[in-house]
């Protein structure tokens, strides 16, 4: 499969890199070819025993650098084929992570692996930057050796990896035989994400329901598309191997239960507005028993220790749109634009939205802008070609307005201004999808703590995803 896959960490400033011919000094590549089978031409390798492998590897890296990193045009595809060699790349700030292959590999797996690699590196040494990579290159080699064998990704859960690969080097001397076999059975085991024998004095867990609400609205206020993509992130500090069961107001579950005890659920949930929500689709962390979800729609799992993303979901029906943007753009002659934007908050007055930012794009030939706003601060940022209007807090059911006059330079350019949509950022303390956590039960039969002893916290945060209104 991914047999001749080679992972390249290329760090270096891509902008300066293309100007300076001495690339070596401004960039560093950690090429980790953990399989010598990265050899493209075995027959040639026999008669050329000197560093054919090395040459090829460097060739591949050079080809990638010339054709992708320093290419003149914008990257048109994350998969590039150069001379029958395929390169996959992802970018993290100015670091390019690339995988190389000559075979028909599972492309989705390669990208998932590259992301995973980023996660693992972040978990070990924080931000992926040139500095950090240089500082940890031995560690990166070790990690790669462990999580990728002959192009086949192995256990890549940081929880498990950290038991025997540390930033200070490998714990080898200290290990007893029991410890060693515990490590190996955990790395290869059914529950590869959690080790045995975890103990906490206080059993505690935190649930964050994080949602990003996406909207595309026409200038007339018609919803063109709207969806919420949400995540349930869990931070668990629980002893032993706890069996957890998570419940939410999933329409299918509620309706199923409703058949039995219709009156009860009806009463208890009526007060809290929406009873249940229709989830379009959801995906789960690998600890969740998928077959059980498929048959009973119950979410049961043994969680990894610490923070992890339990599930992701998507809803499209009955979304609470926290803000409505009403734009009004008027072209006054060829050199002037009048813009008026009203935002309306649409949630309970007792709740407060935060970090509100409205971004109103301006034409490229803008020469000057005058802004008046009722609330918050607004500024024209020439470098971003936009008026940025910031409001710290805003309660529900309120309205605010900004008006601006934009002076334009006369141009000969025939092409009309494209009028990019007005975008908005915010944070609200509720879930726009209407999702509610109903319970999270913890069972640990072997240890003597019960579900009641666990301290549980739940928090809802709704953020704007791509929240745009065309103008």
């Amino acid at each position: 499969m991914v047999r001749t896959m080679q992972y390249t960490l290329h760090c270096g400033d891509s902008e300066s890199g293309c100007k300076t011919p001495v690339v070596k000094q401004s960039s560093l590549e950690v090429t980790c070819n953990w399989k010598a089978s990265g050899d493209p031409n075995p027959p040639a390798a026999l008669c050329l025993p000197s560093k054919v492998c090395g040459i090829w590897r460097r060739n591949a890296v050079d080809a990638f650098r010339v054709n992708v990193i320093h290419a003149r045009q914008q990257v048109r595809s994350p998969v590039t084929n150069i001379a029958r060699t395929s390169f996959f790349h992802v970018k993290r700030s100015n670091i390019w992570l690339a995988a190389v292959t000559k075979q028909n590999v599972n492309a989705a797996m390669v990208f998932e692996f590259l992301y995973k690699m980023c996660d693992v590196m972040t978990a070990y040494f924080g931000k992926i930057s040139e500095e950090n990579i240089k500082n940890n290159f031995v560690l990166i080699y070790e990690l790669l050796d462990e999580i990728l064998d002959f192009g086949y990704p192995q256990n890549s859960e940081t929880g498990a990896l950290k038991t025997f690969i540390t930033q200070q080097g490998i714990k080898s001397q200290l290990q007893t035989k029991e410890e060693q076999s515990q490590i190996t059975s955990q790395v290869t085991g059914q529950i590869g994400w959690r080790r045995e024998g975890i103990k906490y004095r206080r059993n505690e867990l935190f649930l964050d329901v994080l949602e990003s609400v996406n909207l595309l609205m026409s200038p007339q206020g018609q919803v063109l598309s709207a969806h919420v993509s949400g995540r349930v992130v869990m931070k668990s500090y629980l002893s032993g191997m706890p069996e957890c069961k998570f419940g939410m107001n999933d329409k299918i579950v509620i309706e199923k239960q409703g058949k039995g005890t219709a009156d009860e659920t009806g009463k208890s949930e009526l007060g809290s507005g929406k009873q249940s929500i229709a989830i379009d689709d959801c995906t789960f962390h690998q600890c969740v028993r998928l077959s059980k979800f498929d048959s009973e729609r119950s979410i049961s799992f043994i969680p990894p220790d610490g923070e992890f993303e339990l599930m992701r979901y998507r809803t499209t029906k009955d979304i609470i749109l926290p803000f409505r943007v009403i734009p009004l753009v008027r072209e006054v002659g060829r050199t002037k634009l009048e813009v008026k934007v009203v935002i309306k908050s649409n949630f309970k007055p007792s709740l407060l939205a935060q970090k509100i930012e409205v971004r109103i794009p301006t034409p490229l030939n803008t020469s000057g802008v005058q802004v008046i706003c009722m609330k918050g601060k607004a500024k024209y940022k020439a470098s971003e070609n936009a008026i940025v209007w910031k409001i710290k807090r805003m309660a529900g059911m309120k309205e605010s307005q900004i008006s601006a006059e934009i002076e334009l330079l006369p141009t000969n350019d025939k092409k009309k201004w494209a009028r990019p949509p007005i975008s908005m950022n915010f944070e609200v303390p509720f879930a726009p999808s209407g999702l509610k956590v109903r319970y999270l039960k913890v069972f640990e039969p072997k240890l003597n703590y019960s579900d009641h002893d666990v301290i549980k916290w739940v928090r809802y945060i709704g953020r704007s995803g791509i929240y745009e209104t065309r103008c």
Binding site: S37, K102, L216, Q286
Partner: protein, 963 residues
């Protein structure tokens, strides 16, 4: 803490210093030194000189140091194979270490060192590790077998590692199972024929169990492996699908896509009436949509795959149009892919929304994207008839923006709309003409010229417009020049009086001042047509054009089926089969979808279960190209064969008789140069004619009795040319006949599918005698299921020429609303015998003498009890004429001539022996050249020669008939 300091040493004498440090007694110092070495290696410095010193550090308890040394070894062992051997002992020792992490590390590293000597020592430790008590070691050893196989496949087989690997599939540890599956799949891929994976219901069950327990990556390996399995019946397929569906909720997109692959493939076996089938369809949509909220790179992979899925099963995502709407800050590669899928999903139900979106996109910044959006509007117009009007007005709005590339793109698509809805939107021509000056791209210019030519009668100043283009004729691209030529000829045919000068001008530009053979030949053809037969010219140039099809860029069905088997992989990203981008033997295995069956399907093992392929015609590519050209290519005036003939003719003339056997005579005469006629005949070609004739003559004599009628030539009974199973339910049977000078292909089309067939079209590949349909295939009403229709398709011989083997091979492509199908058939040669094939006696005698021996061939026709006169009259019915008859020693001798449509003469001597069944002893051919005979007849050697005075090919047939 920081390793970055290792990168900073650049001073001279570095290697020497490192050497000293590596040999230091202090452990810490050693480790530091090795780190420096690795750092240098990483940035590309050659530190191979330190090999012995580094290897010396290998003997250590420090796992970190050991790993670093191993890393160095993997990099440089190849360059120092002799030195590498020093490391072997340590490896072997490490494989026995009590610490499982070290055992695994040693076996993992050894597998990565591609040095034969080391490989030899690997076998024993590997064998032990495969049976190690620790699962961590076993899972590492499993992958190591694949590594070893890559280095030395024979060794792996000899050592019996494959069997051990197979045993690991039943291992208790899910990760060991997953790695074993991965390794076996990889090895199986390079041995397509071997039955390595040996998937059977039991092993499948094990895999499905492991699927629930192993890591996300392991799940991918197992699902990819499952996709290669062929369930034995629909029930098994369903039960596997049921156990795979939960994977659709996995957070890892690769797991989801691999599960989709398994489901898409096995779904093929499920009956559509099944409730489960519908449930499955419904379950597939949400996870596919969810993939679109992944990171952009994964979105791209997902979108490329969705593109395939939408083509294969449009019903899955037909309600999900909105999720493919482009977001302002999507990366460009995601935008372009989304647009593609939007066009595919466009239907009457959602067209209004789609159009509004597309209009929005057409004002974006990225040029490629904008162009594609404009093109998409055009596609919508063609696809959804109800929306055509709105699309056209949207396009007109866009033209008003005057953005150069938008205008050009719009004109290109409007041309297509004109072709789809002729005589409906011509009112916009005026607007288009306003933008004539701004067009600078060849495609747009060509499209505009086509429009002007096509509607010349409605554009008052068409001649002026075209004339303006003519000024810079030589600077235009070929595409534009060809279009201009055709357009002006069209104009002339429509308004002959005012434009005579213009047409003269363009014809002389094309034929005299151009060195482009296509252009010149098209010019000559038009010239010739116009000067000899203006009515025919009108029929050719202004012929009714076939309608263009609704969908474009559809992937050819067999390729699509193959790509569905590769969902998630690079092949599905490139939309190409793996053989197109993978070197060597891997990935060459053709994968196909399982046939839909209710009962048991043939069980195929492993990856090698090729789908039932239609009989492949060698030049399928050409044919397909031709057909596409017919349907959607840039409009060619008149039937498409006109252009191809020209090309072929040009080749022929230049070829100087290499392939002169089948030169169409009209080309010879109008080229005006006779230089090429001196070419010597190629004997093999002549024999070919003989052989083909021989088999044909057998039929002519009509051995079965008096079916043949005097009024026309012999007509063979209809045979099945294209069986229904190869053509999605379309069965074609037919025969050829010649009646009063015209050839026709008598077809019976039978619809054995469940759906109505319509939009039939037919096209021939180039063939030896230039056979081509003289009229389009006319099936008046759509063909209902289980209905047949008989059609007589008139043929002519002015098509383009290419020598075929056998000579009378004809490759045919038939298109209907479902697909394009190919078949090939042999036509009897006698349909090519022309009515004026009677040679004058004198000429016959002279020609006969000049025929060289090697051009003779002899056949014998047995079991034919006809008198000489009867034979003569029967043959005359098929245009074989008797020139003379004599009787020698009681035997009747007939001397006959015939002429083929391309002007080749064939002369024959027919000897009828009343009693003696032997072949004529005299005039024997060159030994060993007894031409093969088909049917039951055999003819004697055929002498054929060139008669320079006639400027024609001659060929003499000598036949002996034995009763």
């Amino acid at each position: 803490m920081t390793d970055s300091k290792y990168f900073t040493t650049t001073k001279k004498g570095e290697i020497f210093e490192l050497k000293a440090e590596l040999n230091s007694d202090k452990k810490e110092k050693k480790k530091e030194a090795v780190k420096k070495v690795i750092a240098s290696m990483t940035v590309g410095k050659d530190v191979s000189a330190l090999f012995p010193d580094v290897v010396n550090c290998m003997q250590t308890d420090n796992l970190e140091l050991k790993k670093l040394v191993y890393l160095y070894l993997m990099n440089y062992a190849k360059s120092q194979p002799d030195m590498a051997i020093m490391a072997v002992n340590t490896f072997v020792k490490d494989c026995e270490d009590p610490n499982p992490l070290i055992r695994a590390l040693a076996v993992r590293t050894m597998g990565c060192i591609r040095v034969d000597k080391i490989t030899e020592y690997l076998c024993e430790p590997l064998r032990k590790c495969l049976k190690d008590e620790d699962p961590y070691v076993r899972k590492t050893a499993a992958v190591c077998v694949a590594k070893l196989h890559d280095i030395n496949a024979q060794l792996v087989e000899d050592q019996g590692f494959l069997d051990t690997l197979k045993d690991l599939i039943s291992d208790s540890n899910p990760m060991v199972v997953a790695n074993a599956v991965a390794a076996l799949s990889e090895i199986a891929e390079s041995h397509p024929s071997s039955n390595l994976l040996d998937l059977n219901p039991q092993s499948i069950n094990k895999l499905l169990t492991a699927l629930n327990e192993c890591t996300e990556w392991g799940q991918i390996f197992i699902l990819d492996c499952l996709a290669n399995y062929m369930p034995k019946d629909d029930r098994e397929a369903q039960s596997i699908c049921e156990r795979v569906t939960p994977r659709l909720s996995h957070a890892n997109s690769a797991v989801v896509l691999s599960a989709v692959k398994v489901l898409m493939k096995f779904m093929e076996m499920l009956s559509k009436d099944l409730d489960y089938y519908g449930t499955l369809l419904k379950k597939l949509a949400p996870p596919l949509v969810t993939l679109l909220s992944a990171e952009p790179e994964l979105q791209y992979v997902a979108l490329r795959n969705i593109n395939l899925i939408v083509q294969k099963r449009p019903e899955i995502l037909k309600h999900e149009m909105k999720v493919f709407f482009v977001k302002y800050n999507d990366p460009i590669y995601v935008k372009l892919e989304k647009l593609d899928i939007m066009i595919r999903l466009a239907s009457q139900a959602n067209i209004a929304q789609v159009l509004a979106e597309l209009k929005e996109y057409a004002t974006e910044v990225d040029v490629d994207f904008v162009r594609k959006a404009v093109r998409a509007i055009g596609r919508c117009a063609i696809k959804v008839e109800q929306s055509a009007e709105r699309c056209v007005s949207t396009l007109l709005d866009l033209i008003q923006t005057k953005v150069n590339y938008v205008v050009q793109e719009a004109i290109v698509v409007i041309k297509d709309i004109f072709r789809k809805y002729p005589n409906k939107y011509e009112s916009v021509i005026a607007t288009l003409c306003e933008n004539l000056d701004s067009l600078d791209e060849p495609e747009a210019r060509a499209a505009m010229i086509w429009i002007v030519g096509e509607y010349a009668e409605r554009i008052d100043n068409a001649d002026e417009l075209l004339e303006s283009f003519l000024e810079g004729f030589h600077d235009e691209s070929t595409q534009v020049q060809l279009q201009l030529l055709t357009a002006i000829v069209k104009l002339f045919l429509k308004k002959p009086t005012e434009t005579q000068e213009l047409v003269q001008q363009v014809l002389s530009l094309a034929t005299q001042d151009s060195d482009n053979p296509d252009l010149r030949d098209r010019g000559y053809i038009y010239w010739r047509l116009l000067s000899t037969d203006p009515v025919a010219a009108k029929e050719v140039v202004l012929a009714e054009k076939p309608l263009i099809s609704e969908e474009t860029d559809l992937i050819e069905p067999t390729l699509l089926d193959e790509l569905i088997c590769y969902i998630g992989t690079l092949a599905s990203v490139y939309h190409k089969p793996p053989s197109a981008f993978v070197e060597g033997s891997r990935g060459v295995v053709h994968k196909g979808l399982p046939p839909r069956t209710a009962g048991p399907a043939p069980v195929c093992s492993g990856t090698s279960c090729p789908a039932d392929q239609p009989a492949v015609i060698p030049t399928q590519g050409d044919l397909l190209g031709d057909l596409l050209n017919l349907d959607l290519g840039p409009p060619v005036s008149g039937p498409p064969m006109a252009t191809s003939t020209v090309q072929m003719g040009a080749v022929d003339l230049l070829g100087g008789g290499l392939d002169t056997l089948v030169r169409p005579s009209f080309l010879c005469s109008f080229s005006g140069s006779s230089g090429s006629f001196t070419a010597a005949p190629s004997t093999t070609a002549a024999t070919n004619v003989g052989a083909a004739l021989g088999s044909g003559l057998g039929d002519l004599f009509d051995l079965t009795g008096g079916v043949g009628t005097l009024s026309g030539s012999y007509v063979a009974p209809k045979t099945v040319w294209l069986p229904a199973m190869k053509a999605k339910g379309l069965e074609i049977s037919g025969t050829f006949s010649r009646q009063v000078g015209s050839i026709s292909m008598d077809l019976v089309l039978t619809n054995k599918a469940l759906q109505v067939m319509s939009d039939f079209a037919i096209q021939f590949n180039r063939n030896s005698f230039g056979l081509a349909p003289a009229a389009p295939l006319q099936v008046h009403a759509p063909l209902a299921p289980n209905q047949s229709v008989e059609i007589s398709l008139p043929l002519n011989t002015v098509g383009s020429v290419m020598k075929m083997d056998p000579l009378n091979n004809l490759q045919v492509a038939v298109k209907n609303n479902i697909d394009v199908f190919y078949f090939s058939t042999l036509y009897p040669l006698h349909i090519l015998f022309v009515e004026d094939g009677k040679m004058e006696r004198q000429m016959f005698l002279a020609t006969w003498k000049d025929i060289p021996n090697e051009n003779e061939t002899q056949f014998q026709i047995k079991d034919c009890s006809l008198s000489a006169d009867a034979v003569s009259s029967k043959l005359q019915g098929s245009n074989i004429f008797t020139i003379a008859k004599r009787n020698v020693e009681g035997q009747d001798m007939l001397y006959q001539s015939l002429k083929l449509t391309n002007g080749i003469w064939v002369l024959a001597e027919l000897r009828i022996q009343p009693s003696n069944p032997r072949t004529s002893p005299w005039d024997s051919p060159s030994p060993g050249r007894a031409g093969g005979s088909g049917g039951g007849g055999g003819l004697s050697p055929v002498p054929a020669s060139l008669e320079p005075s006639l400027c024609e090919w001659c060929c003499v047939l000598l036949a002996g008939v034995a009763p």
